[in-house]
Symmetry: D2
Subunit: 361 residues, 4 copies
């Protein structure tokens, strides 16, 4: 279904063309001050056309809040938000009506539903993430007020170029200062160059987004099925184009032994307080599926964008072989826009679990 | 919560020590012939102590079906199954009462709940997976009857040793023929050796499980949040010790370009039938989150087991530094038992989506 | 939460004043032809100001469909609908800002959330039912196409005036032909008179709505908790102002003995077909919580509207005694508008269970 | 499905014959002291065969707790409880194998599932309520500890005999002191007599259970769909044999006018505290679906038990007319055992909403 979350719950709706896209946020605690400009800021981060590196479509994506907020504060009732679709040009998609674009969802939607909106990607379009980002912006505000928790995400790798980033100290400003949203000043320009080359090659690139959540309370996450890592994995793998998720040591950790991998506990003593911490963080901030107070650190693999400029062989709905000609515009690397989406999903998961934990005592 | 699935829904319960562990399977279609011996077979595959490679504890794990089955067939009502705990020796765990074992869930459970069953791993114990495996055995039967779908899993990598397996042709017999459940006759013996060495080193190893689902109907998986890949990711990341999930090209796919990665469609013509297929399967069997009829192929990273034989530095509940002495027995590589669990979780996800798809038309 | 249904699932949002009210319908089967005029028709039935008998506010309530429909057919994706609020006059409610209106939700909302939109009834307003009615209009269409099932509701009683209606034969036209939506030509005019008197008395009236579902397939409803009667009860008791629900013999049945009350089975033989039926229908169309193919018949008690024209004693938020003066306009009997809402809720419940049943085989 | 509740969630399982019946309680807060004898006490209240007034079957119904409790306290993990079935005598039901008993669930189960356990009522048996009562006993303990809330239920009416009970002051002792669980010393003996007569007549009786919840915190219940009255209605109408639910003024309230029905607010001043209350309680303790701190008062109509001693006309599975002969034993009035069940369901609903409310702040 189109709903995510148990206590802090969002329902997104809308195809990429025609009407609008939007979200209903249910379960938001009351009396949270909501700044619409911070919601718009996140949508702007997600929006295509922010620089020459991203798709040339100009989508203004202005959010409207239709319910749930009164005199600047949440009411505790559902918050409905929408963004109107402006870029509806059916003719531009007419040639796709009968085609199955490779590695797109055309074929599977047609088979699943027996019908599809061929004017763009329908629900499979990245435009669906507008609702997630708007809802995530509210979740971020709830986390900030209730537990001081922060979620950040940035480009860790594009194609073969891997960045070095200190997840413990990186800031939103560091990320936004880079046109490719990679806060490694040495690798970031190379990434931009690689993307430009891909555009000239009429091709596309994938990569890895890394995300960190800091100042996470101990105790979030439910054994057994709703482990924090499981809900984060689902959240991230529900995004278009994602092919993998790993937390902490991830796939690299399999070549370590237990004695190397285990995170030893120690008592950290501050001036006034002391708390139990781990010396290493191979666990990535959760143990037994529950947050342990260390930073939550995870990566997501994104495949290269399916839409490319080169002609491709494919079939139409009747199975006839046809050539899909270049459409003349394409976004060679969507990762540049992904950090806002990943942060939003992380914030949604953490807020949901924060509320679930509050119910217990 | 302790429930997984939307229409085919399981609820597991039980700590590792005291009483029993079990599962309630809700939403199972009626009139499915259920062979209790196949359920027991799967539990035996999951059980420790199957060979010298696994933990020496002898758990017989005999399943009892308490409801939902009548004259050998499912009634459509909840199927309750349990396995009694036999290995309750509180004294063996007495020394752990006050300790936080590194990379175990002792600390996070204590912080979350303010109480924990210190006699073993409680709900965080791998023993919780008994319920999943029993339920998965039923799901497998449903899949077999309703769509002819099969799920298989095997050891793909242990520590640095990686196997070569043809996911399209591997059989359950191939997997079970290997003591390490790796159907690569060359690498498997090396894995066994490596595990033996880890035991002698009082250490532990991690690895990668690979899983394939074959003969999956086109159209399973829901846009947007309940994509098949998202639900598989959640299912797998809800297992103890998992650190990563990838599908299709996974993390490796990020170094490909779009023109290399896209899976071209073609029409496969048989004698009587024809169907649209893809020439490559970088997508791993889903597009837009929906199955496309190709094999679903994914991998899961398991960290090295947290329980090792070496002494370790840690803290007790008061934060005092203490040494955790070896307990005298440990399972150096749980991966050998993981295939049954991974197959079960895959079967549960697929069955749930199969039923959801049937509701639509 | 603000979501109802398991497979056919609606989420409503919106306060009575400011922005809009709306609904997201999730899980609607694809390829259902949707006529927007039938949705508008149901909203018009629900709308105040249809005759001198109802509230004089003029709300045009024009529905907009923003997603999920393509070329007149459902896509299987979420259908988002909204109606803009036009009657926002905060000044008209200024005097209520600090007051707790008797038998309204002002006090409980304020205590629950610590904040409320005092400009009208917020989420407790009957305006929230717009989303339900719009969604129900879609559910009706699904029922018609998939199983030929029809839901109808009408005024059975207002104050002490009780109508006689044959639930097996009454039609929508019969109901709509009456200004009070009571298809008893003798009692209906008396009801209209009674309502007019209540308006002159600055008072209000309650009553009973009766609803019938005809041509319901055998087998809808889940044991144990999601019995059809249980979900109908929840649906109806989730409406504002409802105080009771009864099905079949209801509260009256308690004075019968078992031998009087039991519904004997018999075989009804038609020309081509035969089916098992019951001679009486004290069960109201469900047995064991599951539909038995007989008409589903139930009644709902609505209290007299809380808003009246007479001055009332109450307290303000600080507990000071104050007099709530008449607002100058009130709707003395909301029952006249309730049939559309009751039919919608019944259709939502039946559609959900119809899809659930289809998943089973 | 067989699950009820959102945060405090129960899953019941088990047919009336064969194996066992049980429940899994999920979401119970940790560190609640659990007295198994209070759970057994509630099961004993529910149990048939307590006096000559109820069914002569002797069911000992001894509960076993299999998980979730450690050293007398809840762990916060699922609590699994079961009661073994002892009364399995297939031969006693052999004559029912092909029959559809009037107003039983035989026909609808057969049509829904195509299979049924004909050895007793299967899931439709009142035996299913064992799980509810055991879970409710835990919920009662949670309510007592967390909010001091108490739920009580008693027989208000049997056949035409109606009792007078002061819901504000009645005690558990008053209820249990009466063999028919009616705390009206004048009417109760007449009820017992009426039941004895029904037994001699080989017939059965229905009635009304009244239930009160006292000391309920203000603010429980969610607008819109999960109103407290809606969830109570669903809970009660999910019980076997229930035909109606009403809260506060109920169906009787429809003959009042608004000025008579509205509950005026006032400020109650105590020595140290003051709180806003209502002078009357026609609302039955909720307004806008949310508890207002007054007692929650509701009634449930139970039809006369379907099993009677008289022969009845019915059909078999092939539609042939047959006579259902008396089975020789029947329980002429199940209401005597219903108070424990109603209290349990009320406690489950209130506990769920109590936890939901705690999540908000």
């Amino acid at each position: 279904m189109n709903t995510f979350g148990h206590l802090f719950r969002i329902t997104t709706w809308g195809e990429s063309h025609g009407g609008a896209v939007g979200v209903v946020v249910d379960g938001c605690p009351p009396q949270i001050a909501l700044d619409i400009s911070t919601i718009q800021f996140e949508l702007d981060r997600r929006r295509p056309g922010q620089s020459h590196l991203t798709t040339p479509r100009q989508e203004s994506d202005v959010v409207e809040i239709l319910s749930g907020v009164f005199e600047g504060k949440t009411l505790g009732t559902p918050i409905s938000m929408l963004v109107w679709n402006k870029d509806a040009r059916p003719a531009a998609y007419e040639h796709l009506k009968q085609l199955y674009r490779p590695s797109h969802a055309d074929f599977t939607y047609q088979e699943k539903y027996g019908i599809r909106n061929w004017q763009g990607g329908g629900r499979a379009s990245a435009r669906e993430t507008i609702g997630r980002v708007a809802a995530g912006a509210i979740a971020k505000q709830v986390l900030r007020e209730m537990s001081g928790t922060e979620t950040l995400a940035y480009v860790k790798q594009i194609h073969t170029l891997e960045a070095e980033v200190d997840a413990d100290t990186v800031t939103l400003e560091d990320i936004e200062a880079s046109p490719v949203r990679c806060p490694d000043p040495i690798v970031a320009p190379k990434m931009a160059e690689r993307i430009d080359q891909a555009r000239r090659d009429l091709d596309s690139l994938g990569g890895v987004i890394e995300s960190v959540a800091r100042n996470v309370p101990v105790g979030l996450g439910e054994p057994v099925f709703d482990k924090l890592k499981a809900d984060l994995a689902k959240a991230m793998m529900s995004l278009p184009a994602t092919m993998g998720f790993q937390i902490g040591s991830g796939f690299g950790g399999v070549t370590m032994t237990g004695s190397e991998h285990n995170d030893p506990f120690y008592l950290e003593k501050g001036d006034q307080t002391e708390r139990i911490r781990t010396r290493t963080n191979n666990s990535g901030g959760t143990q037994g599926g529950i947050s342990n107070g260390e930073n939550i650190l995870f990566q997501i693999a994104f495949k290269p964008t399916a839409t490319i400029g080169k002609p491709q062989q494919t079939v139409d709905m009747q199975g006839n072989e046809v050539t899909l000609e270049a459409s003349g515009r394409h976004d060679p690397c969507v990762l540049v826009r992904a950090p806002a989406i990943v942060e939003a999903m992380a914030a949604l998961v953490l807020t949901d679990h924060l509320l679930r934990q509050r119910a217990k005592f």
